[in-house]
Symmetry: C2
Subunit: 582 residues, 2 copies
């Protein structure tokens, strides 16, 4: 039995378009002799649809589209489509109004519905906000093969693999008890660095544990801050990888289930990216391209400072949508070094993108003049530095508004973490392309690029994409004479390690100190992180590539007085209480 794996890239809420994609894939699959086609989780509306699910008209339209699709699909092909289904009993017995479901479409009809059982409510996931969990796992028969259906998180509760249970029930174990021949999984599993390795190790163990083959199909494409990497795979009952679709692109691959052996046959296995840098690069290129495209833009604009962050983002944008679609804007000030303009122009030449130069000296003087009286007697400081950044932000947005280019912001995760960025200035943009990429990783990706990772089609023999000077000079915001980042921040190797321990690993300051960092540095970094929450609140969506990004999965209070320090005095001491204070 030939199974088609349709690794699709739906657009959130674009039901007609997504249905067309499923139909087109099905017609190809039938032409190849497939009997069954799998699509990703919620393939009809795209994952995650979020609060669109609160509009009854949206849910109704999805049901109507599903019905129509069932009629239009080739009748001989069984197709599993991800959709939402109304929970009719919710008002009577309690529970959420919808299920996150898989519909089995066959012979012109909706044959069966399967509901997602394990609903993730961590990180970026809010499944419990909308969905009632399915109470049982079910299967269907096709050509004498008993196929168990699971949805995404349903796979992610293998106690042996994780060393702990995440949920009380385990759909895999239940399907094994039902003696299914094959388990299929429809996923909308977002990318984080090296996650595919984890997924494949988990699937290997699951297939070995239960002696049942699994076919896992994942969504691909960028949806706001989330990038879905595809990487759909099949594992046979011995835990051997038998097929893999492409990473970071749509794909339609086939795998054969051999009834006699009750197992999947070896098929084609797409290679994985060659390194973590290559993988992140591909993720960011896809994420940027899809955000631009799905928002209805065709061109982007960004500020080119001559620094490494904007160099990387310009390169990502060029790879994503082509050099003709990218406009780099140079906005030198009297504090800009000579090399910053030269470096930016060299980069633009390498990439083949257009540039525009708008010096900001006159604007700075006019702001100075405007504030001459009010700021008289005060020193040049943060306010004046931010004015420069906000002038640039205003210029870029004016270009965006005038020409319809999407502004891409270029800040990295390290500076977003400690607030080394200007709200309404360099943070401006519709998308923050590298907001989840730590500065040390920005460097390693640029080194990987220069070592041959990527070259523009127009210039395949370029010795290096990122000008060498951009990689070697000291990072600087150039907002005052001679300024470098390390005046204000610890070296990025130190900073990024502290940030990772605090933000991703949730370590206490004392633990971070114990790992070998200076007390003062740790406390200062954590204070900066905590105090910068108000900036992150207003940041554009940033493409997520780590397990803990400052995006939809980061939900931190702003007006909070929790500030952990490495020398935290042991909790509160009762003092003479005053009257009840407001």
């Amino acid at each position: 039995m030939k199974i088609a794996i349709a690794q699709l890239n739906p657009t959130i809420g674009y039901l007609a378009h997504n249905a067309q994609q499923i139909l087109a894939a099905a017609q190809q699959a039938v032409a190849q002799g497939s009997r069954l086609m799998l699509t990703p989780e919620l393939s009809l509306c795209g994952y995650p649809p979020r609060d669109l699910l609160m509009q009854p008209a949206f849910v109704a339209e999805m049901a109507a589209t599903l019905m129509q699709l069932a009629q239009d699909l080739p009748p001989q092909l069984a197709v599993l489509v991800g959709t939402v289904v109304v929970n009719d009993r919710s008002t009577r017995i309690g529970g959420k109004p919808l299920f996150n479901s898989t519909a089995l479409l066959h012979n012109g009809e909706i044959q069966q519905l399967f509901h997602k059982r394990l609903l993730p409510t961590y990180d970026v996931f809010d499944d419990n906000r909308y969905f009632e969990p399915g109470l049982e796992s079910h299967s269907f028969w096709l050509d004498g093969v008993k196929i168990g259906v699971t949805i995404c998180e349903d796979l992610w509760n293998d106690e042996n693999f994780w060393g702990k249970r995440n949920y009380r029930v385990d759909p895999l174990a239940e399907l094994a008890e039902q003696s299914v021949d094959l388990i299929v999984n429809l996923s909308g599993s977002p990318y984080t660095a090296n996650k595919q390795e984890l997924r494949e190790a988990m699937l290997r163990q699951a297939t070995q544990t239960y002696g049942q083959p699994i076919v896992y199909v994942n969504q691909v494409g960028g949806n706001d801050d989330l990038i879905f990497d595809g990487n759909s795979v099949g594992f046979d009952r011995q835990g051997q990888l038998v097929c893999r679709a492409q990473a970071f692109d749509t794909d339609l691959i086939y795998v054969d289930f051999e009834p006699a052996q009750r197992d999947l046959q070896l098929g084609s296995i797409a290679p994985q990216p060659e390194s973590t840098e290559a993988e992140i690069w591909q993720a960011l290129v896809l994420g940027l391209r899809d955000y631009v495209r799905k928002c209805g833009f065709s061109k982007v604009v960004l500020g080119l400072s001559g620094g490494i962050d904007s160099a990387l983002v310009a390169t990502i944008a060029t790879a994503a949508i082509g050099p003709e679609q990218v406009l780099g804007v140079l906005m030198p000030s009297p504090y800009s070094s000579d090399h910053s303009v030269a470096d930016a122009l060299e980069l633009a030449k390498n990439l083949g993108i257009q540039t525009q130069s708008l010096p900001i000296g006159n604007l700075m003087s006019t702001y100075d003049h405007t504030f001459a009286e009010l700021f008289a007697g005060s020193d040049f400081g943060l306010a004046e530095e931010n004015i420069q950044s906000r002038i640039r932000g205003n210029l870029l947005m004016a270009i965006s508004n005038k020409f319809g280019h999407l502004l891409i912001s270029t800040g990295n995760k390290s500076e977003m973490a400690v607030g080394y960025c200007t709200l309404y200035g360099d943070m401006n943009g519709g998308l923050a392309a590298i907001a989840d990429v730590p500065k040390t990783r920005v460097y390693s990706i640029c080194r990987w690029l220069n070592a041959g990772g990527w070259r523009p089609a127009s210039n395949p023999d370029l010795p290096e994409v990122i000008p060498a000077n951009v990689l070697t000079k000291a990072p600087s915001a150039e907002l005052k004479p001679g300024q470098v980042d390390q005046d204000s921040l610890p070296p990025y190797e130190v900073l990024d390690d502290i940030l990772c321990q605090f933000i991703t690993q949730h370590k206490a300051p004392a633990e971070i100190v114990a790992s070998g960092h200076e007390v003062n540095t740790v406390d200062r970094v954590i204070k900066l992180v905590t105090r910068a929450e108000f900036k992150r609140k207003q940041a554009p969506p940033g493409l997520k590539i780590t397990d803990r990004a400052f995006g939809t999965g980061w939900r931190m209070p702003i007006a909070s007085q929790w500030l952990p320090t490495s020398t935290q005095s042991s909790h509160y001491q009762a003092t003479q209480p005053s009257a009840l204070t407001t």
Copy 2:
């Protein structure tokens, strides 16, 4: 038995401070002869602590603080404190790592723990992200009285009241079966307009249904976008209101439980605000004051345009933190009308706040000059309008940065909904004071103010706070000559009604048209709302006063192609499918 209701205003994460507040209230309560004191949900850390709960150091510090507090409290007083408790079994049998709990502190020890059972995951609530639900409802004995303990949402599942079940279990019904004498409820229930009326109707019905008195204690104060209104109440077993604490302020009130009658006695009942306008006004004043205070600021700055939105926000700020703490900045342009400056100055004089004038004509010219070449041949349009708004945003942020004033933005909900506002311009600010107040409500609050709702202490006999001209002139952004809002938008009465139906009531366009609005207007408004998602994503926290605000409870995709229209062609039509598209 005298019961103290401590309606506290904790600061999120400020454990030592919050514990001190509980201790201070307890000492007063003991002095008044109380036997039991109630505090709000999560009173030790403040509600909602959000992702601070993911830091083990935070949870550990809370446990240590609770232990210390148990020892410090007067031993003869039983105190119910809201705290989180580690779910020891989660890694073994699955489930979330914490409980949202109430600790009974008495005689120097933690006597008993009660876990929240119904965990809300709708609107702004993410309880399921952190907490495992308690599986049973429990009670404790004090002076021969059996007291059942519930936490917030545990009360909100009365099938008879709502006409439907929200959850499968009903803690109230279970406690009734256990024949408790009294039910207490610790809440962190955020304010929305007229919600207290709903709460009291629900509590009345619950006490009547089960014949058991209920004491409900709610948190008070502002935490980011959420305002907690206090309004703690007691209802006796006949469903009669027996006590009510103040709205929008801390309070410590007492209610007697009479063992012989097994019922609460009539106590003092604080009055409710006189009107919806009065109530919203108090909410916004509290929300602004607490955001400023809890973020560590003392002064605020805002732009004074002469329009009604900034007039209302300046008045709220003055009432919240005093006129000396408020700086209004006038930034007239060549397009500003004469009356806008006059109106702004008259308002400032009425309020007794300082003003600063920074005309922006020179800056506009310098931007024009900067863009002379690049924008040559194009018409004055949105780009030029936005430049003005962003110049003002830059000036205000510079003042904020220079003097340490918190910038308050002044946009209303109607313009946030349709995107009639400039990102990085007038949207700038640490807090959006009236972002959830529709324009028509802005008018009604201002009329209520002028009718005597509030007067500055310095000027109690002022005939009107908001200059009459501000209320009567046509609203205008004044970004080009002669511009008025109604050039671009339907009349605000029409707009606000369409917005309420679409945003709050989730109605389909056709239903909104059926209610009496023009097809073209409905479709245009919905398109504007849908297309403005990217602006709202980057908006500052806005004080929530409605059931559906654009804040933490609004989770909408940006790169989406769902655009409902009143003439929606019935779903997708299969066309000649092309190849699988990326």
